[in-house]
Symmetry: C2
Amino acid sequence: MTRLPVYLRSLLELASDQVSTVSSERLAELSGVNAAKVRKDLSYLGSYGTRGVGYDVGFLVDQVGRELGTTRDWPVVIVGLGNLGRALANYHGFGTRGFRVAALVDADPALVGESIGELTVVSIDQLESVVARGQVAVGIVATTAGSAQDVADRLVSAGVRSILNFAPVVLSVPDGVSLRNVDLSMELQVLTFYQHQAHPQHLGTASA
Amino acid sequence: MTRLPVYLRSLLELASDQVSTVSSERLAELSGVNAAKVRKDLSYLGSYGTRGVGYDVGFLVDQVGRELGTTRDWPVVIVGLGNLGRALANYHGFGTRGFRVAALVDADPALVGESIGELTVVSIDQLESVVARGQVAVGIVATTAGSAQDVADRLVSAGVRSILNFAPVVLSVPDGVSLRNVDLSMELQVLTFYQHQAHPQHLGTASA
DNA sequence: TAGATTGTTAATCGATTAACAATC
DNA sequence: TAGATTGTTAATCGATTAACAATC
């Protein structure tokens, strides 16, 4: 369920504001969704609310966190240390959700041995061994489009079961492997699409 | 339509491979979707295919590109130049889609004046003026969660109508402003959710 | 003409949400 | 008891996709 992390974020915010109880209405507002949807989503986890009262924030944080596995340790390998890979390597937002960058891998010999944060970049030749040694569960692909599928294949055969892909290409992975894609250009393109529809061109023949 | 950029990416790939004609079946395969969906999406743009033959790749690139506004110039302002903001400022994938980083803005006086790529970071005090001067249409929010809403408000009142938000917070924007969110921790969390469901814990009481 | 493939209809599926009985 | 709010049903909505007539 893709909305659970959003609820967790809102709940953690409430908890840090010392709020002890929250209604589905309020949680929905904070999370930017419909209240009925919140209740339905939460009821899927179990019957954790109290009619007439609402949900206990602390208890719900525990339950949602447990469902999402945030208390687990998720070692992550980042493949490709261009600008984006570096930003991810230095990103401190992962820690609180159980993610830990365990290894940095790049194919460029010039980058191998370089320190980024507290880690040292290792060669792509060692991909399989760092995955095995670090019990890496998640791979982040921040390579060029050209090498992304090859990297994904190697991650999968090394045992990685979750891949977050930043390369602008459609990857194929076997059943049982989770894949998500973030394509920054595409996000911008979707965003401006609506704008362009409303106010096309600004060129040539005027339309208004 | 959020799939158009995916089709465009596949079509550009075909074009660079000198492929002149493509069927909905093949385009669907390359884009990772259903063929009927491709035909339906494309028919919304107009009747650009030929029955029994397929679609002309070059022509379709033009039509989809025009629909998406890729030939237009989209000046972008990046607010917040931490690791992520820097990576975005240096990212070269934007150019081919019509996006151009026109200004870099940060609230930290220590960063103002610094050169990143070909641009110089300016103070947040000048946000409104750089937006106006550069006719900036798109704002990228790469600040902390705490300042994101304030930045978004200022972008909107300065005239920005499309916002891409990387801060881990739900932003509210008025009608007519497009908003998309990319939360990296959340992507990872959604990703590992399915994995965690299949193989929970690895702690305490064994379940298998 | 026979084969291929589009464009579009209509059926299917799943997600969203209003509504309300249950109940604190 | 009266008010509030959950959990869940059932209706609604929109998106997906199979199927096929149109037609190159």
